[in-house]
């Protein structure tokens, strides 16, 4: 879809690879690309201007150090800058000395307030608290019902009363006190930031329950308008933090940067899926690389950790690099990989994967066919494909409902792959940390990106 920052920078930097030092002119060209990348990620125009200026001052005179070439350095500067802009103070919940601690949820229609309210309640529960939910969205049909269903799933009480939202919230607070609940989360109706009447209403709710925390719920797909919305809600309610929702989508999520920059308040939580436990504290480093289109390797790795058996995966990786990888190992890993979702989706999340590869269709039936072929082999054949002669080939193709040519192709590709893996294994032994940059134009985009991404994430902590 959109180019990654390093794809963009690739063109500009190609000409100056050997010069080592970035001139004023180079920096201007580079920054134009940075600007485009940020705009494509939906970062607000005004915020982009600020970011670019911050980066300019650091980029001029960036020299080629031993480890990083200018391109890598620029990406690292941009990445680090975004991380620092997105991060800063993390929100630490201070519980009220007089319980309950009251949390008010506010935001536009459809941003995900009700679901987030339930997820947040579940999070508090996991922290050993006894939360209660109040449904003060009396506007949208069945919003309270939705909250009740979610509350029942989580075994968390939900209070609501018909009438007006302000008194509902007030009654909810009294209820929480009498039940001895120590956290109260108030869900409110979605409203447009420019709807004065509705903004007054939420202000009244806020006055009635005097929240300890007011969270603005922001959809990660939001475009330029995020700034206007954040400012309006902040001036009405004084926001303490942001809940960023729908991060399981493929939006770059530049709104996060816009909102953080404008409000100066932390992004406290991120909602990352439809399930009620898909809710976590916000990671600024992941968001930065996501905005820059560098994939979301850490999320991928975490997902992988859930489905892969670690020991097996390590063993397989080691075998692969030593060239001892067998078809049985391959099949095993492939099946684990499939648990993570579509292969296309996984490739999409990976940083630095060339566009040709991203656009290449990997039809699921081809994967199934590959599996079927391996399933039709004996254990010996899987361990040692050289065994496969004419008659074995015919048997395998019949067993898997494929052709002899298919079987041949698979064996041939597997052998090629093994060879390539072994080469890579050899390289890594002598290569070291990031001394793998200069390798001709085709390979160049990848190391840039990864070097920057990895050095900022995995580097000294």
């Amino acid at each position: 879809m959109f180019e990654t920052l390093s794809d963009r920078l690739g063109g500009v930097l190609k000409n100056l690879r050997n010069r080592g030092r970035l001139t004023q002119q180079d920096v201007t060209e580079v920054l134009a690309e940075v600007r485009t990348a940020l705009l494509e990620a939906d970062v607000n125009v005004t915020v982009v201007r600020d970011v670019v200026e911050r980066i300019r001052s650091q980029a001029v005179g960036a020299t080629s150090s031993t480890a990083l070439n200018p391109g890598q350095q620029i990406i690292k500067i941009v990445n680090d800058e975004l991380v620092s802009m997105l991060g800063g103070e993390t929100l630490k919940i201070m519980y009220a000395s007089q319980p309950p601690t009251v949390v008010l949820m506010a935001g536009l229609q459809g941003s995900g307030k009700t679901t987030s309210a339930a997820k947040l309640a579940s999070w508090f529960k996991s922290q050993g608290r006894q939360p209660m939910l109040v449904g003060a969205d009396l506007q949208r049909p069945a919003a309270v019902e939705q909250l009740r269903v979610l509350g029942a799933q989580l075994n968390i009480p939900v209070f609501s009363a018909p009438g007006d939202p302000v008194s509902t919230a007030r009654l909810g607070l009294a209820e929480a006190k009498s039940l001895g609940r120590d956290v109260l989360i108030v869900d409110t109706a979605g409203r447009l930031a420019i709807d004065e009447e509705m903004m007054q209403q939420v202000k009244d709710i806020s006055k009635a329950v005097k929240p300890n925390y007011t969270f603005l719920v922001v959809d990660a797909m939001t475009g330029q308008d995020a700034v206007t919305v954040a400012q309006a809600f902040d001036s009405t309610l004084s926001i303490d933090g942001v809940v960023l929702t729908k991060l399981d989508g493929d939006a770059r999520g530049g709104a996060a940067l816009s909102v953080k920059h404008v409000l100066g308040k932390p992004i406290a939580f991120a909602a990352t899926g439809e399930k009620l436990d898909a809710f976590e504290q916000f990671h600024p480093d992941r968001m930065a690389s996501r905005i820059l289109g560098m994939g979301d390797m850490l999320t991928l790795i975490e997902q992988a950790e859930k489905v892969f058996e670690k020991d097996k995966a390590e063993e397989a990786a080691a075998k692969m690099l030593e060239g001892e990888f067998t078809l049985a190992d391959f099949l095993d890993q492939l099946q684990q990989l499939k648990k993570m979702g579509s292969l296309q989706g996984i490739i999409g999340m990976m940083p630095g994967v060339p566009k040709e590869m991203k656009n290449a269709q990997i039809p699921d039936d081809q994967v199934r066919r590959t599996e079927a072929i391996i399933f039709s082999m004996t254990a010996q054949e899987r361990a040692n494909p050289e065994l496969i002669n004419g008659s074995r080939r015919t048997r395998i193709s019949k067993g898997s409902g494929t052709t002899v040519a298919d079987v041949n192709r698979l064996v041939k590709q597997f052998t090629e792959m093994k060879k390539m893996m072994k080469q890579m294994g050899g390289k890594s032994a002598r290569g070291g940390k990031s001394g793998k940059s200069a390798k001709g134009p085709k390979g160049s985009a990848i190391p840039d990106e990864l070097a920057a991404a990895l050095s900022s994430r995995l580097g000294p902590r």
Partner: protein
């Protein structure tokens, strides 16, 4: 990380079906990834036709532009100057970017104007703005913006409503239902959102309000079968139109998109016919809206867009990219929470609002 190097090599190697290699790489990356991450110190784990609608609404523009003063000033200043300078261009660009039109699309619409200015065919900033708006309006989809209703079908028309979570699908169906009822058509709502808690209840409220029938399934049930049942009942009761709700889904969720493709296929299998697939897009959506349109079209052959929440401060500029790149027409615009707040899309008005 070295596994990624192999990707680069792969592109160079020209073996026809590279699938094995791709798979192997994925596998190896995860192996390596797991190793890397285990070493890492883990800090935090933690329808209504256009005529019919425009009559009932005096001025869409009045309602849209309630509070759009913040940036309106800047551009009008630039346009009152006596000559076209770099600043004029910058401000036009910025107005479009702020409206979520997107970088590439903005560059594309501005390019031909540079020529006109260079050849001195346009010399005044004001004329430039007018030319730009005309150009943009002309580029919008030429496809019909009428909702497709085939009265000669002899079976229910089915309108399928799709979109990401929170776009406003259910509310749109409620409003559509009321408007179609007002046109004298009988309507049945099929509650195909079996996932979100209380989505069925929400639709039921709209059925009551608009005087439509409703078919619901079990929560967590198969949405295809709910819609199939809805069509069957509509056929039996000779109901004209089935409005099929679906659960919100993010377009990169392959399984849910396949489920939706199935909903589309199954809906067509009964006696009815799908005559309209409406993609609901929230006006606050940024560049991801284009991806949404592409993916939803791929799985359900979208025939029209409903742009919701345009009464807010967002301008919905991404639909300009959707119209010009994918030729999917915006058919309806949502301007509020009451039943009459769903109106026909007006191209010229929409374009001019992008600059205000």
């Amino acid at each position: 990380m070295l596994a990624l190097d192999i990707f680069a090599q792969l592109v160079a190697v020209d073996t026809a079906p590279k699938i094995m290699l791709v798979l192997a790489l994925l596998v190896s990356i995860f192996g390596i990834g797991v190793v890397v991450s285990s070493r890492r110190d883990r800090a935090a784990t933690s329808q209504v036709t256009s005529h019919e609608t425009s009559q009932q609404d005096l001025s869409v523009r009045d309602r849209i532009s309630k509070t759009r003063s913040s940036f309106a000033g800047a551009i009008s200043v630039a346009l009152t100057r006596s000559s076209i300078t770099q600043q004029t261009w910058d401000e036009l660009e910025e107005a479009l970017l702020r409206a979520d039109v997107g970088v590439a699309t903005t560059a594309r619409v501005l390019a031909p104007l540079h020529e006109l200015v260079k050849s001195k065919k346009i010399t005044q900033p004001k004329d430039l703005a007018i030319a730009l708006q005309n150009e943009m309006t002309a580029q919008l989809s030429q496809n019909s913006r009428e909702l497709n209703f085939d009265a000669s079908l002899g079976a229910p028309n089915i309108w399928l409503v799709v979109g990401v979570n929170g776009a406003g699908k259910t509310t749109t169906i409620g409003k559509l239902s009321a408007q179609q009822r007002a046109l004298g058509r009988s309507v049945l709502l099929a509650a195909g959102d079996t996932f979100r808690a209380a989505a069925g209840e929400q639709l039921e409220t709209w059925a009551l309000r608009s005087g439509a029938e409703i078919v619901r399934g079990a929560e967590g049930g198969d949405p295809s079968s709910v819609i199939f049942d809805g069509v069957a009942r509509a056929t039996a009761q000779k109901i004209d139109l089935v409005l099929a709700d679906t659960a919100g889904r993010l377009q990169n969720n392959t399984n849910l998109m396949e489920e939706l493709a199935k909903v589309r296929r199954v809906a067509d299998k009964g006696s009815g016919k799908v005559t309209e697939v409406l993609l609901v897009i929230d006006a606050t959506t940024g560049q991801n809206g284009l991806t949404q349109a592409k993916q939803f079209s791929q799985s359900t052959q979208v025939t029209g867009v409903v742009l919701t929440k345009l009464d807010g401060s967002a301008k919905g500029g991404i639909v300009f990219a959707i119209e010009t790149e994918l030729a999917i027409p915006v058919k309806l615009v949502g301007l509020g929470e009451t039943i009459n707040d769903l109106v026909a899309f007006n191209a010229a008005e929409f374009v001019s609002e992008l600059f205000n």
